[in-house]
Symmetry: C2
Subunit: 419 residues, 2 copies
Amino acid sequence: MPSVKIADQWLRTILSELYGRRNLTRSEILEATGLNAASVSHTLRYVLNRGLLLKVGEMKVRGGRRREVFSLNTEAGYFIAVDLEGDHIRFALTNFLGDVRCRWEEPLGFRQPLDPRKLIDGIGRVVRDLENSRRSRVLAMGVSYPGLLDSEGRLTAVNLGWTRFPLVNLLKETFPWPLFLEHDKHSCVLAECWHGAAQNYRNALFLIAEGGIGLGILVDGKPLEGAREFPGEIGHWKISPEATDLCNCGQEGCLEAIASSPNIVRQYLERSGRPRSEPAGLRVTDIFEKARQQDPIARAVLERAGRMLGLALSHAIGVLNPEIVILGGDIISAEDILLPVIRDEIERRTLPLSLEGVKITVSQLGLDVRLKGAASLAFREMLEDPKLLRKVCASALPDAGVDRDAAPFSTGGVPISDR
Amino acid sequence: MPSVKIADQWLRTILSELYGRRNLTRSEILEATGLNAASVSHTLRYVLNRGLLLKVGEMKVRGGRRREVFSLNTEAGYFIAVDLEGDHIRFALTNFLGDVRCRWEEPLGFRQPLDPRKLIDGIGRVVRDLENSRRSRVLAMGVSYPGLLDSEGRLTAVNLGWTRFPLVNLLKETFPWPLFLEHDKHSCVLAECWHGAAQNYRNALFLIAEGGIGLGILVDGKPLEGAREFPGEIGHWKISPEATDLCNCGQEGCLEAIASSPNIVRQYLERSGRPRSEPAGLRVTDIFEKARQQDPIARAVLERAGRMLGLALSHAIGVLNPEIVILGGDIISAEDILLPVIRDEIERRTLPLSLEGVKITVSQLGLDVRLKGAASLAFREMLEDPKLLRKVCASALPDAGVDRDAAPFSTGGVPISDR
């Protein structure tokens, strides 16, 4: 039935546009989608009737006329997002638009393999207190994973202590929802495309500097996959060949050995003559705070880390020719200290022609970046599949329990602390 | 007429496959193209009748049967290729399959803008002595350019001394052939895809190290374009931040300042205490020869250059995750000396997971790499355009003067020296 297929494409285009831009008038939708007026009217009526779309207000336009403003119904469906990178694994329930409504996090034991029960439990926690009528509208699950996922869905990841752990089978057997997975570097750059600073860009870099250092790469609108989905590995660039900082990988002079968060702490402790173990629990944010209080050692260590990050980004800009570079990870809580150094080093080190027009900015998505990426992935992937697209559209039918005047969403899980 | 359109696609697929693989049996064509037997038979008859295809022999297969082997008629058409990179500009006439049949090269004056008459003259030279019957079968011109080509076809390139020179207009006004242009980094990597080591790979790096140093990048089967068609700029990576080698760009420690051909010569002269100007005309190939004769200074300079190239490639492999790395430029005449050092440095510096399965090899296309890329570009682009595709097919009709028993092609231009 060709007409149904065309309608699928209208739905996809319009839902996708409203997802990214939030509030749109009919004429903005016409312009953004390039569809004709009849197709747009037909589709808007269809999604309004099913409770997916809301009229959220009116906008005055020139000539005194008023235009209706449309927005997706944030409660038309929910997504589960899981982020397996870092020293904590994170869980979230998001609304239809990928806004985090409820979070849970689980610390990883130092060099202990992650007990899969913690993964199951964390997912359970973020949906546990959801009312039944809403729980039936959990549409899908998105997972952002580190390391390497093989063709049989088995994950190998250092931070989780897993080697070929059957992640996909476990999740599919335990939970009823469609499952979508994406490498963490891709999750970051896609989250920035869909919700953040990389909207409207086709070529972007996303630097994530925290426990490890990596680069998410957007090439011509798509994440760079490389030969084996393992690009963006700049953490072990020998950025300072003469440096003696020892890296986890066994080599010296790696970017990570100088500019990752644990190594910033290490250098601070070493330079101030304190044993590495004391004071226990010193975190990178403490070093940022000391630098703000003009502690010369903290300032010197961060200056060095910032210069090395800037040099690495200068190389990445030269080879990849992006339009925008977005800084993420722990850096986002030290924008005041690190951004000027990084920017200065990039400008000093990069060929002017390579740097021309390149925007350098800090991510506004915070620690949720990969969770938002995972939730958005699930939304976007559902649109692409005709069966799942129908599931999305069916989910918010009034007789399925949508109550648009319901009280604001009540969260079930325990919010994670803002670090 | 949908049937004609389908036939266009059959033609494209079959010509493209025969172009890359040279000799194929009917069953190999069936397998490689995925077309059905009737479409293949129809198309083979069509191109045989028009003189584009030849039966070049028979192959014994299992069971004692014989199968006809087909090949494109190398004289079914000709292409003009122009390479504007380097300290010489190069011109070639190639046969239908991109084999260079006649070359001309024109040295560029040191820091003097290229006189456009030399460009016109060079193109004229490679077709000048072509017999009339063959000259009418020059199908198109491909140009490989350095620098930046703007949307109005104006070229800015340091080696040519040109700023917004109206290259496209000049060539279109002077010559009657369809014109196709490609950036030199893309030409290299496409030539390797179509004729060289990157056949059957989707993610490849092509290092060109000569007067300058750059990287051609193939991502998912296509050249990486970046935001402004300016990727692969690794020549100004500060690969050795502590080095004091002064680069043309005004900075110190750039890869080019250590590993480009003129800088290899410079270091040799400096370390041997000779003034830079003496002996006049010392070339990088002379340094290679001295190293082969165990000259310790030549060996040390090349060791350093090789290590820096290896380190840069290690970075490029980490960030781009290719399947194959191809070394080109002046390196190809020092494979014996440089390849072991480069390979060793890559292995020492790269994360094993990033290096797994990566093939490292030297280009077999020699100094013709960009000329072959430009000629192939013209062939490939003609196939894509329905009108030009018909021109390709018409060109070799017997009544247009094809003589398949003619003597081997006679060259018109003066061959360039093999450096």
